[in-house]
Structures are given as structure tokens and as C-alpha cells.
Symmetry: C2
Subunit: 123 residues, 2 copies
């Protein structure tokens, strides 16, 4: 069977309702989820994620974010890049600035994985 | 007002119901939470946490955990130590073996922080 012939499975749906405490995570799931947790395992990135999520209109320009930190713009950009590569935020350039928004499905999925035994986001 | 006179606030309670998307995390909260996410930002530790959480009776001996991995016992012990230092699991030696259990409050707190805007664990 060719790789092209494999059905596309939206893992975000299947993992969503199978919290960590219901059945053991398999190696594939763990390999997929660990980088997302690692991406938020940094205080600056955690705050950036929160600032973006809370920003008016649900999106923030990098110019809205730098003021909260005593860090250079390139350092902030590096952390935003890590969050984007993990799929936790999206971005788009509009004119001079790049705008960022969170990916709520990704956060919801991580939240559900850590949730108590009962499914928090039933299908 | 003396420092001694300040009321004691249980941060685990206040953070529980203030998800990341409701109001920006402050630096102190982020510094406190990031190491917990970092601890589970590793596929082996994520699977260990899940194996312990799912184990019969809610606790597992290191002898119950090593079989799931192609890793040496010292490596597994190292990962368990990281999880314990982060406060995600507890442990106790009984005779020959050390037994581990998860700290459900810690997982609940991380889950709540990442949850959608509405509080998932109301007081």
C-alpha cells in the first residue's frame, strides 16, 4: 500500500478525548505531544502564549508583546518561532508587522490530555 | 504591614481557575509553571506519567514501568526523579521497591491553565 493511499486521521480528534489517565499513551502519541509541552516549558513562551490569547481581538502584533519583557526583539521573535513551529500559534504578515494568534485546538488538546479521568471535551 | 501579616494565598487554587487565555500570566506564575511543562516535554516522561496514572490502584512500582521501554533502569529512574522534582508524582519505598503515584492536583492545574476561556474546574 502506498503512503499516498493511507487514510488521513486527524489525531487531534482522537487524542482529545483520551486523557493520559484513561489509558497509557503509546510511543507515537508521546512523541507527538512532548514537543508541544516542551515548547511551553519556558516562562517567556508561556507568557507570550498568554499575552497573545488575551489580546484584544485574539491576535497580537509583535509590537504588542515586546513591552512585557526585558528582552530584545530578536529574542522574542525566536520564542514566537518555537511556539509557531510547535503549532501552538499561527501568524501572518500585514504590512510592517507580523500578527500572531493562538491555535485553540492545540491548547485544548494539551489541556484534555492532562485532565482528570473523565473526558472534558466530549465529542 | 509586615510580611508576616499578609494572608497566605494558595496559588494552586488561584491559578486553577485563571486560564492562560483569561488574563496574562505574570512572570511569577510563568516561572512556577514552566518547569512543570518542561518536565512533561519529553516523550518518555509523558508515557511514564500516563503509565503511573493508569496503573491498577493508582500507583506503580518501577518494576511495572521498565517493561514498556527499551531503556535501562537507571535511565527510567532519572526520568522519574525529574517528574518527582517537578511535583508531578510522589513516591515511597516499600521493602525492595519504590512505588510511584501521580499528583492529580498538579495535572489538574496544568490542564486548567491551558483550558479554553471558561473555567473548567470552578470553585
Amino acid at each position: 500500500m502506498s503512503k499516498q493511499g493511507l487514510p488521513v486521521v486527524d489525531v487531534s480528534e482522537t487524542v482529545c478525548c483520551a486523557p493520559l489517565a484513561s489509558e497509557p499513551l503509546n510511543a507515537g502519541e508521546a512523541d507527538e505531544l512532548a514537543p508541544l509541552f516542551k515548547a511551553i516549558g519556558d516562562p517567556v513562551r508561556l507568557r507570550l502564549l498568554s499575552l497573545i490569547a488575551c489580546h484584544e481581538g485574539g491576535e497580537a502584533c509583535v509590537c504588542d508583546l515586546t513591552g512585557a519583557f526585558e528582552l530584545t526583539a530578536p529574542t522574542i521573535s525566536h520564542h514566537l518561532k518555537v511556539l509557531k513551529q510547535a503549532g501552538l500559534i499561527g501568524s501572518e504578515r500585514r504590512g510592517t508587522w507580523v500578527y500572531y494568534w493562538i491555535n485553540p485546538r492545540a491548547l485544548e488538546r494539551l489541556s484534555a490530555i492532562l485532565a482528570p479521568r473523565q473526558a472534558l471535551f466530549p465529542a
